[in-house]
């Protein structure tokens, strides 16, 4: 074994709850373990305990024993363990501290005291494995999120550790980046390195995992081969189950396919045994939770002017074109997902909605009026933003003032509406607390409330599901539905295609600054040309639906006289 936890419990100093409770765990060389659990279930704490950062860097109450590669972490400081076990943290910016990619990778090797010839050898090896060659001389701040992640992983792989832990590695990746990471992890593992991946987006990694561990309130509540664990009752643990598994569970089928091929094989089998008839003839019912929400289901859509009209928009920085010829019209009561690769211009486009950015060319109309003459603060009454990082806006002494900041500066305080919002987000018990003391999930809630406080007609949600657990996703879905029912328009900027397919009635796909598709999610995913241009992948739910439809056609052919 390369990693062993024996009755490990830990409580951070100053915090009353235990972060880890009586964990027993053995990991073998080359094993890939996926760790799941709701926010605050102890995933990050487990990662820190495996690397010796607990108990050496984070102080607290510690019980039990952790051995890495034969070394007891209690007796060895972190600088004696880091060559044996590596960890990539959640925030890419907070773990890169050299001025070139090359220096970043060399840093750990220098710490190990390796001779420079060996450092060069490992550098060239790792830039091969992690495809870092073209980046070596770049300053890290100029890299995209996915590139930063590869640099960080590369810097750790260069140390040739026996165990690598990754804390939410898929969170900020676009579909292409996620695919690349999976390939890299695959080759790392084939060299005998054990991998431990803590992740909310289970479907990204579950098919490759040997084992799935579920944490709840610091305890291991399930541990075993993914198929077995996924067969258990996992509802109380707040997991975002892979869509295939969710579908099979909803049908009360006992199979737990992890890949689409497996699922299709099972379906075919069931079809030939005549078990699918019910499902196919009543397919609307079966697809309830799988396809996109088909229409905006709102009557105000027809009668009112469009929420936003963007005509022939062009924008660029420093002579580089970021957006070109963009034409989009958003109607009231719609939920539109803006999807595409990192750097395709999604955020740049939404920043034009309230003139945070001013177009180089083109026209933007908000509620029928030209936006060109208005200031950002005037427009912020109509367009609200909830950014990915809630820490970007919290600054008041308490939550109440934080939520009311917008209404006060804009002189648009609707008391009833704000009371409703506070109740809606469960903020009453927090109103007098400092926003900085809240958990990240609570901060996110406060940020949503501040974005909605002036009752804007359009709300832009920037990566709302990144790093969030299933209860949060469910709540968000309900919120979006409520907003739409009141005629508000919701724009979601996201890489989370499963979420976007389920809750948006329309996708606008950007690729290299142009709109390459605009339509219902299923129509977009059915267009191979669009997928290729934008680097998107059809969701598991969509692929399963297609497989079922193919079977349905066969079924109807068979049934015909």
């Amino acid at each position: 074994m390369v990693l062993q936890f024996e009755h490990v419990s830990f409580r951070y100093s100053g915090i009353s709850e235990w972060g880890l409770r009586d964990i027993d765990l053995i990991v073998q060389p080359g094993e890939m373990v996926l760790v799941a659990g709701a926010s605050g279930s102890g995933k990050s704490t487990l990662c820190r305990a495996a690397t010796g950062l607990i108990p050496h860097f984070h102080r607290g109450l510690w019980e039990g024993r952790v051995c890495v590669d034969g070394l007891d972490t209690k007796d060895h400081p972190v600088h004696e363990l880091f060559g044996h076990v590596g960890l990539t943290f959640q925030n890419p910016d907070a773990q890169i501290f050299n001025q070139t990619v090359e220096a970043e990778i060399a840093y750990g090797l220098e710490s190990l005291g390796l001779a420079s010839a060996e450092i060069e050898r490992r550098l060239s090896w790792v830039s091969d494995v992690a495809e870092l060659g073209p980046l070596l001389n770049r300053p890290p701040y100029s890299l995209s999120g996915g590139e930063k992640q590869r640099v960080i992983l590369g810097a750790i792989l260069a140390l040739k550790p026996r165990v690598v832990l990754l804390d939410e590695p898929f969170t900020h990746l676009d579909p292409g980046g996620a695919e690349r990471l999976r390939t890299l992890l695959h080759s790392v593992r084939s060299e005998g390195t054990a991998l431990i991946v803590a992740e909310h987006r289970l479907h990204e990694a579950v098919a490759d995992a040997d084992r799935l561990i579920v944490l709840n309130e610091g305890k291991v509540v399930a541990d075993g081969p993914p198929r077995n664990v996924l067969a258990e009752d996992l509802f109380p643990f707040g997991l975002n189950l892979p869509p295939l598994v969710r579908f099979f569970r909803e049908q009360d089928w006992k199979e737990r396919p992890l890949t689409l091929d497996e699922a299709t094989a099972v379906l075919k089998d069931k079809f030939h045994r005549g078990e699918l008839g019910r499902l196919i003839s009543s397919d609307r019912l079966a697809f309830k939770n799988m396809g996109g929400s088909q229409s905006s289901a709102n009557s105000s859509e027809k009668d009112s002017t469009p929420m936003i009209e963007v005509k022939d928009l062009e924008f660029g920085y420093d002579g580089e074109t970021v957006l070109q010829g963009v034409n989009v019209t958003l109607n009231r009561g719609e939920c539109v997902a803006l999807v595409g690769r990192n750097g395709s211009g999604k955020t740049t486009l939404v920043k034009h909605f309230n003139r945070l950015l001013k177009p180089k060319r083109g026209l933007i109309k908000i509620l029928g009026q030209e936006a060109g003459t208005k200031t950002v603060s005037e427009l912020s009454r109509h367009v609200g933003f909830a950014w990915q990082n809630p820490n970007d806006q919290l600054f008041q002494a308490n939550v109440r003032d934080e939520v009311l900041t917008g209404p006060r500066v804009l002189h648009a305080h609707d008391r009833d509406w704000c009371d409703r919002l506070i109740e809606r987000f469960g903020l009453e018990p927090l109103l007098d607390r400092s926003p900085f003391q809240l958990s990240e999930g609570q901060k996110k809630r406060v940020a949503f409330a501040t974005a909605l406080a002036v009752k804007p007609e359009l709300v832009v949600l920037d990566e709302p599901t990144a790093g969030q657990d299933e209860p949060f996703r469910r709540e968000l879905a309900v919120l979006m539905k409520e907003l739409r029912a009141e005629g508000q328009t919701v724009v979601v900027v996201t890489h989370d295609l499963e979420f976007a397919a389920q809750h948006a009635n329309r996708w606008v796909v950007l690729a290299e600054g142009r709109v390459v598709a605009d339509g219902p999610p299923n129509a977009v995913m059915a267009d191979a040309r669009v997928l290729a241009a934008s680097g998107l992948r059809p969701t598991q739910s969509f692929q399963l639906r297609e497989a079922l439809e193919r079977l349905g056609k066969e079924f109807r052919l068979d049934a015909a006289p």
């Binding site: 950062l53 050496h56 860097f57 972190v78 600088h79 004696e80 880091f82 060559g83 590596g86 943290f89 925030n91 910016d93 907070a94 773990q95 890169i96 501290f97 050299n98 001025q99 070139t100 220096a103 060399a106 840093y107 750990g108 090797l109 220098e110 710490s111 190990l112 005291g113 390796l114 001779a115 420079s116 450092i119 060069e120 300053p139 890290p140 701040y141 810097a155 750790i156 920043k351 309230n354 945070l356 200031t375 950002v376 603060s377 912020s380 609200g384 933003f385 950014w387 820490n391 970007d392 806006q393 919290l394 600054f395 900041t405 917008g406 500066v409 900085f436 501040t450 974005a451 002036v454």
Partner: protein, 217 residues
Amino acid sequence: MPPLDPRSKLISAIFVAGILIALNDWSSQVAGLAILIGVVLLLRLGRAWLSLLKGLGYAAGSFFLIVWVTFDLAAAVVVSLRLLALGTVFFLFFKTTAPEDLSNTLVKLGTPYPFAFVLSASMQFVHVLMQRAANIRDAQRARGIPLEGPLSTFRHLPALLGPLLVQAFKLADELAEAMEARGFGAPGRRFRREPHLKISDWILMTAAAGLFVTVVL
């Protein structure tokens, strides 16, 4: 030509700066600047130097005006030329030295490792914080806080500084943890590029020191 050791470059740069400060007539400042520009062109750094000149020229221009008004024209010419020349000396040093060699050099010259490292790491940190500050400004403006123009920005400074400070502290904590996990405190650190003083380095330093002694003393 093999690259020079950063130590010899730094020491020579200090000598040259000393000479430029010691000389007080416009003709020697012009000569000094001409030689430095020659070196810039020789190293094919002309384009980068021109972009340096944009900022530095502005500073030199303001100095020129201030000194002209308070003293006289001759002093103003010397001061502004000297500023350009000094800027060019250190421009040459930083342009020809890889960032990671910088902390390396400081350690070799006797600076404690953590201090030297933090100095060079902060350059990365500044970029990250600048990006964060831009995000924070956008986020607050999107809430209706009018952070437009200096007066209004000053009035609403807490909205900008509050989140920035909190994030800077958080980032520093996380960074410290990540550095620990990559062996920051490990004894026996060896540098990937161990600098060696070569003959060319000694020649450069001797020449700079010799010039300094002749001109200044």
